[in-house]
């Protein structure tokens, strides 16, 4: 997608910046194409066509550093932009910790961009008519009578889209790293009305690097059924009980852990895990690994934004905190060896012997199954959290009622110490491979 002429332009910009006062330069040239067809109640409601390109420059000048970008990629305009950018960097304060990465750490195996096998060649040849066919075929609206038992589907809104993404990162040390991928997505939101006129909404979605793997037909129906399952919720009393979190949303509880392991948060002392590297904070059963180089898997990449080669890393191993995500700058500031800028594709290793969510519910017997979060947040410094939840009351290993207007509250270290089992049902379309999780003794407010 990125042409040789565009690569030549980026190369020229790199040289131009060096000739005009930069001591180090990193450039990322990105280009993407997205086409979308939106559906409303079985009919095409909108179409969108988007072609984006941008050139990002990171400039090291006289011990100073700045980041710049433009989507005006004419040579003359870029040269003028670069000269202004260099002048701007000179006005900033000196920062002795800024530098390009050690060249030995840079990726050398991302040459064509297609090494990870995330490229579906058919993406370039899909016509507008075919796109509309795919979108129309995904709708459940015409067949809604099959499902309408005790409720009416009053709105079905969805989108089909296909995207092509291509980027090249190069620097003044000789880095050339390319990443290309295609993505196909389908997503639906359904709103149903019960016999008393109450509305209930829910969604479902899927994504895949290859069109053949996209779960196109079942998406809208699943959104409808998820909405219908929420009809007639009950309010239950505040309690402490088992928390089971569906794999669709379990990543919400992992993200704050990864954020707390981020070098920036650690260096700024704004992390509840700031002094916990190498310490055993969690149960033996908890292991999280970063697996950035699995061919064909969504979200995998051979290099980070600095061009540093990714590698398999234990994040938490048998309960021990093993990795902080440290880039070159933070590594210099903290006086530690850099690792990688961020987690790429983490996997929480399943344990407890359950394959499916149903088996896990049977194992836990009672509790609340969370199928979605409704707002909430956490405190990065303390690890305290409070989230709104929606889901189901579980009794005897089965869903008995939807629940609403409930909150879970606690702190992450205690929560993860109460992780007792998982299923093995992580959704491959998500960037984090997190299965359904089961925790004991969680505080619910209602």
């Amino acid at each position: 997608m990125i042409t040789n002429e565009e690569i030549a332009l980026a190369t020229h910009c790199l040289a131009f910046a060096l000739e005009n006062g930069a001591s180090g330069v990193r450039i990322t040239l990105s280009k993407s194409l997205m086409n979308l067809v939106g559906m409303l109640n079985g009919e095409v409601d909108k179409t969108a066509h988007a072609l984006d390109k941008s050139l990002q420059l990171q400039l090291f000048v006289n011990g100073r550093f700045g980041t710049f970008s433009s989507n005006r990629l004419e040579k003359d305009e870029l040269e003028s932009f670069i000269l202004q950018a260099i002048d701007t960097v000179k006005m900033l304060e000196e920062d002795k910790f800024r530098s390009l990465p050690d060249p030995s750490r840079l990726a050398k195996d991302a040459v064509t961009g297609q090494e990870l096998g995330l490229w579906d060649a058919t993406a370039e040849s899909i016509t507008s008519a075919r796109r509309k066919e795919l979108a129309i075929s995904s709708s459940f609206w015409a067949r809604k009578a099959e499902a309408e038992k005790g409720f009416t589907l009053i709105a079905e809104e969805g989108e089909y889209s296909d995207s092509i993404f291509d980027s090249v990162t190069m620097d003044s040390q000789g880095l050339f790293a390319r990443h290309t991928e295609t993505s196909f997505e389908i997503g639906y939101e359904a709103t149903v009305q019960d016999s008393e006129g109450n509305h209930y909404s829910n969604y479902w979605w899927d994504a895949a690097p290859f069109l053949k793997d996209l779960q196109l037909e079942s998406c809208a129906q699943k959104a409808c059924l998820r909405a219908a399952q929420a009809i007639s919720p009950v309010s239950i009393d505040s309690c402490r009980t088992n928390l089971i979190v569906d794999s669709e949303c379990a990543g919400k509880l992992v993200t704050p852990l990864l954020n707390a392991l981020g070098g920036f948060a650690v260096q700024q002392k704004n992390s509840f895990l700031a002094d916990k590297l190498g310490k055993k904070l969690f149960p033996d059963s908890l292991s999280i690994i970063d697996l950035p180089r699995v061919p064909g898997e969504t979200g995998c990449r051979l290099f980070d934004s600095e061009g540093v080669a990714t590698r398999e890393l234990p994040v938490i191993e048998n309960g021990v905190v093993k990795t902080f995500f440290i880039n070159t700058y933070i590594g210099h500031k903290m006086g530690v060896e850099p690792t990688i800028e961020d987690a790429t594709r983490v996997k929480l290793m399943p344990f407890g012997g359950c394959s499916t969510q149903e088996e896990l519910l049977q194992k836990m017997i009672d509790g609340i199954l969370v199928t979605g979060f409704n707002g909430g947040n956490s405190n990065a410094a303390t690890g305290n959290f409070s989230y709104g939840i929606e889901g189901f009351l579980i009794r005897g290993g089965r869903k008995v009622h939807p629940v609403r207007e409930m909150l879970i509250t606690g702190d992450f270290i205690s929560l993860w110490n109460n992780l007792v089992a998982t299923a093995n049902d992580a959704r491959p379309c998500l960037s984090k491979l997190i299965p359904t999780l089961a925790f004991k003794d969680v505080s619910f407010s209602a």
């Binding site: 939106g38 988007a50 989507n71 202004q84 709103t191 002392k269 704004n270 707002g375 909430g376 956490s378």
Partner: protein
């Protein structure tokens, strides 16, 4: 800030006949309406960390979006080039939505809407253009703010100051031959501090954001923000999680306006109602709050983060009363939804950038003052909480369930503020919460923070409210 027409035509390398050509191309397949949205935005940012301004940059975003409507259906395409052939290609792509004649013509409802908006208003005059100030000119402000914060409290371990600004040249043209143009400034400053006390760590932050020029960066602003970021830190260290459950909640004046944004503002956006998904879709003309309560969405506040001279469809900015004396009186409309309901657009058609088609979006959403006194509302509560500092919120449009996250507040016991509380989520149901408003104080404040609404696209908004007592909401806490 408004420059001459030619200034904008030159930036985008177009003239009016060419604009007409593009619109005609967009309508060639039978579309009922076409508009063009040109944008040239310069962004700048500076970051102070560990006592020095060692990171900064600038960014340029330039392009044009072409929208074609066929009835209520939308075709959208954009180009990062304003070359004639590229815009024509976009127009052709967007035109593809019109495969059937339109029955609804949004142009037919384009009249300026209620409240007699002033189409000539300039709500964000600029004294010092961000584009004309060298980056070095901003460093003293960041450094003084850093120093002011450090001087306030010896427990501070880290301070981060972030300055972000943008200037957007906008040109719009549509098939009604309406040409609109202006330049939109935005400046935002945030400061966060990490405190340490006896091994415990806490963080606090605050922000200011205005549609104005660099003249906002005054020593007084630095002093004000420094004072705010350390205010209440003693209570933050003392704070505990309350026992959770349903209880009365007194929403402090100002940032508590997030309640209105989440609990009703989104549900009043007309696209959700047009599609039948909103819980308020059949409540127009019905009482939804106690008598005396007025809730509005206002694009006319001078230099406010949610201010607009006109929206991204060219409709003049205005005040839109959504609730008058407790009765639901208006949704928030863009051209499509206004045509659907047969009413005038309300100037709420907004978009993140030329990459997006406009949607009904809020501007500055607030409740007008009532007659009660804030202290009286607090003293009327036997058991509940008072909340005054927030981070984020969310709503489920269909059910109406909303949440917002409270960073700090106090327990109320027997009418008095007692134990400080922190880090709790509050959840409620929009219609139920609105109907359960027990009192409204006379102290409306519109929060000056950098609020951003994330409905499909990010747009700047603001929110406000007087001190309000709600009878029962569910508060997260320990059991």
């Amino acid at each position: 800030m408004i420059q001459s027409k030619q200034y904008y035509l030159d930036i985008f390398k177009v003239d009016v006949p060419l604009l007409e050509t593009f619109v005609a191309e967009g309508l060639r397949s039978g579309g009922s309406y076409c508009d063009l949205y040109f944008e040239n935005t310069s962004y700048g940012s500076l970051l102070l960390r560990d006592g020095a301004v060692t990171s900064g940059g600038s960014h340029i975003d330039y392009g044009v979006g072409v929208r074609v409507l066929s009835g209520e259906k939308t075709g959208y395409a954009y180009s990062e080039s304003t070359l004639k052939e590229d815009i024509l290609a976009c127009a052709r792509a967007a035109a593809g939505i019109a495969d059937a004649p339109s029955e609804v013509n949004p142009y037919g409802t384009r009249n300026p809407s209620r409240g007699e908006p002033n189409p000539a208003a300039d709500r964000y005059p600029v004294l010092q253009n961000w584009r004309e100030v060298p980056m070095a000119g901003f460093l003293p402000f960041l450094q003084s703010l850093d120093a002011d914060v450090h001087a306030k409290d010896t427990r501070i371990r880290k301070v981060i100051v972030n300055l972000a600004f943008s200037v957007s040249d906008i040109l719009m043209y549509n098939s009604a031959r309406e040409l609109k143009y202006e330049t939109r400034p935005m400046g935002s400053v945030s400061v966060s501090a990490v405190f340490e006390q006896n091994g415990a760590v806490e963080n606090k932050s605050t922000s200011r954001s205005f549609r104005c020029g660099a003249e906002m960066l005054t020593p007084a602003l630095a002093q004000e923000m420094a004072a705010e970021v350390v205010k209440g830190i003693d209570q933050r260290f003392e704070a505990k999680r309350p026992e959770g459950g349903r209880m009365s909640v007194v929403m402090g004046a100002g940032a508590s306006g997030i309640l209105l944004h989440e609990a009703m503002g989104h549900a009043f956006e007309a696209d959700f109602n047009r599609k039948g998904t909103s819980i308020f879709s059949d409540k127009m003309g019905c009482r939804i709050c106690p008598e005396g309560i007025n809730i509005l969405d206002d694009g006319t506040l001078q230099s406010n983060r949610g201010a607009i001279n006109f929206d991204d469809e060219g409709i003049p900015g205005q005040k839109t009363y959504m609730v008058e004396d407790g009765i639901l009186t208006s949704y928030l409309h863009d051209r499509i939804s206004a045509a659907h309901y047969g009413v005038k657009p309300t100037g709420n058609g907004r978009r993140e950038s030329f990459r997006y088609a406009p949607l009904p979006r809020m501007r500055a959403t607030y409740m007008e003052s009532g007659t009660a006194k804030a202290d009286d509302l607090i003293s009327s509560v036997k058991k509940g909480i008072f909340v005054d500092e927030f981070s984020n919120g969310q709503v489920q449009i269909g059910e109406g369930d909303f949440t917002f996250y409270v960073k700090s507040g106090y327990m109320i016991e027997n009418g008095r503020l007692t134990m400080p509380v922190k880090d709790i989520n509050i959840i409620g149901n929009g219609p139920e919460a609105l109907a359960d408003i027990r009192g409204v104080a006379d102290d409306l404040a519109v929060d000056p923070g950098a609020w951003t609404c994330g409905k499909e696209q990010s747009v700047p908004v603001s929110c406000g409210i007087p001190t309000v007592l709600i009878g029962n909401l569910t508060v997260g806490g320990a059991q």
